[in-house]
């Protein structure tokens, strides 16, 4: 399963947990959140990426929501993998949900998918990524440099080289456009 599959409309909703049963893990930066998410999902943990509460918000942030009762096991896995969390905190208020809507625009030869503030456009015949637009975090121009002009099958995935919420949003657009262009 894709590490970002929880956001896909065609995936079943993640079961809502009681707030009292959930905690969230805080990391140094978004890159570590993405690594931790990949690792924990690969190991079968039911976790999800969410927005942090205001009191710990520094800027471009994500946290991982997890079943609080599993704190020891999960923090040990992360510690052993070299991506220790800074804090594990019980959830006392609802965490922010990432956007889960895709906007699709068909230009004929080109297809554009928008996820949150990021847009990815592909030539439907050659499968070349022709443009990336939107976003405001500094990895966006970098991701565009690394991906534009490359085939969808050869371009690096944003989650591999991105570091911010905009990079994370671009990953969603990338997965959706792959789903539409490579499975048709």
């Amino acid at each position: 399963m894709s590490p970002f599959g929880f956001l896909r409309k065609d995936q079943p909703e993640v079961e809502e947990r009681e707030k009292a049963d959930s905690g969230f893990l805080v990391f140094e930066n978004t890159s570590e959140v993405i690594q931790a998410e990949n690792l924990l999902k690969k190991k079968g943990w039911k976790i999800r990426v969410m927005g942090p509460p205001p009191e710990i918000r520094k800027g471009c942030d994500l946290v991982i929501e997890f079943p609080l009762i599993e704190e020891l096991k999960i923090t040990k896995i992360l510690q052993d993998a070299g991506i220790p969390s800074l804090q594990a905190v019980p959830v006392t208020n609802p965490l922010l949900q990432p956007v889960d809507l895709f906007q699709i625009k068909d230009f004929g030869r080109h297809l554009m998918v928008q996820a949150a503030n990021m847009k990815l456009t592909v030539d439907k015949e050659s499968l070349t990524i022709v443009n990336i637009s939107g976003g405001g975090c500094p990895d966006v121009p970098y991701l565009a440099e690394q991906m534009v002009g490359k085939n969808l099958n050869e371009a690096p995935a944003p989650r591999e080289i991105g570091h911010t919420l905009c990079g994370y949003a671009l990953q969603l657009a990338y997965e959706e456009i792959r789903r539409r262009c490579l499975q048709s």
Binding site: T121, G134, P138, P141
Partner: protein, 291 residues
């Protein structure tokens, strides 16, 4: 004089401050050359094109390499906190930079103590952090697209990634989103909202709508928002008021797009090339979009 603060997508690029010039389509600062693809280099290249056309001086750039890890941005914030108070720019445009609330507030506090407060324009990551910090009203102009406007209108969202669904992509409700952004004090004094239609607004509502010419492909082209911010910032630097600059910039950006005969695969560099011709035409003719 216009100052531009932003990043370039090269981890090795050092922090540089100085005049920025355009040579064969690339921007140059302190002997370093950056190819213009999108982001802050596209903003600067557009501003330089406007300046050349209107015989204005080149912008001053504060640039650093950052590929999203934030180290470069932190270095830049630190440098600005130390040096900005010794400057007297007419306008500062803040652009692609890692949103860091603590540093943003420090920079704003430095600016608020300056003898002559510059006009403040924010786009991209700096617009995000201005809103995250609850200090949007300290800015004179934001240049969001419609999705980013929804983020400004959502009083709970700290980043466009968390904008609540009911506010997203309501292009036919732009004026409601604008009102909501002002009600919650999450808008700058003026907004230039870019999209199929561009809107110039302030706390009194929409002041102008610019909807032609329309090139559908522009939405897909990375950097067309950066060119708009560069054009409007350079126009404000000439001394004209923000409302007039925003309307003119919108017209110029749209017309430059038309001259490039764009497809969704067009690169923004091809559009920047046409800015002088579009600017000349708009300034010599009747402006469109007055409300």
């Amino acid at each position: 004089m216009l100052a531009v603060v932003g990043t370039v997508p090269d981890h090795e690029f050092p922090l540089l401050a100085g005049r920025v010039t355009l040579e064969n389509g690339d921007i140059c600062i302190q002997g370093r050359r950056v190819i213009v693809k999108r982001g802050t280099p596209a903003l600067l290249a557009s501003a330089i094109k406007v300046g050349e056309t209107l015989s204005q001086e080149e912008p001053f750039g504060y640039l650093v390499g950052d590929i999203g890890r934030g180290e470069g941005s932190q270095q830049l914030y630190k440098y600005l906190a130390k040096h900005l108070s010794q400057t007297d720019f007419h306008i500062i445009a803040f652009h692609y930079i890692q949103p860091l609330i603590g540093w943003h507030n420090r920079i704003l506090s430095v600016i608020e103590k300056m003898k002559k407060r510059p006009i403040l324009v924010a786009d991209a990551g700096y617009m995000y952090v201005a809103k995250m910090s609850g200090r949007s009203d300290a800015y004179d102009l934001f240049t969001p697209d419609v999705g980013e406007l929804a983020f400004l209108a959502d009083e709970l969202a700290p980043h466009p990634f968390y904008t609540r669904g009911f506010l997203l992509h309501e292009e036919n409700r732009v004026s409601d989103l604008i009102t909501r952004a002002y009600v919650h004090r999450n808008a700058s004094k003026y907004l230039l909202v870019k999209g199929r239609k561009d809107y110039v607004a302030n706390k009194n509502g929409v002041q102008a709508i610019i909807d032609s010419p329309l090139e559908e492909a522009m939405e897909a082209i990375g950097g067309t928002g950066d060119t708009l911010t560069g054009i409007v910032a350079a126009l404000i630097a000439t001394g004209i008021d923000i409302r007039e600059a925003a309307i003119t910039a919108s017209n110029v950006n749209r017309l430059a797009g038309v001259y490039a005969h764009p497809t969704p695969a067009t690169q923004v560099r091809e559009i920047i090339h046409h800015i002088p011709k579009a600017l000349g035409e708009i300034l010599s003719g009747n402006q469109e979009g007055e409300a």
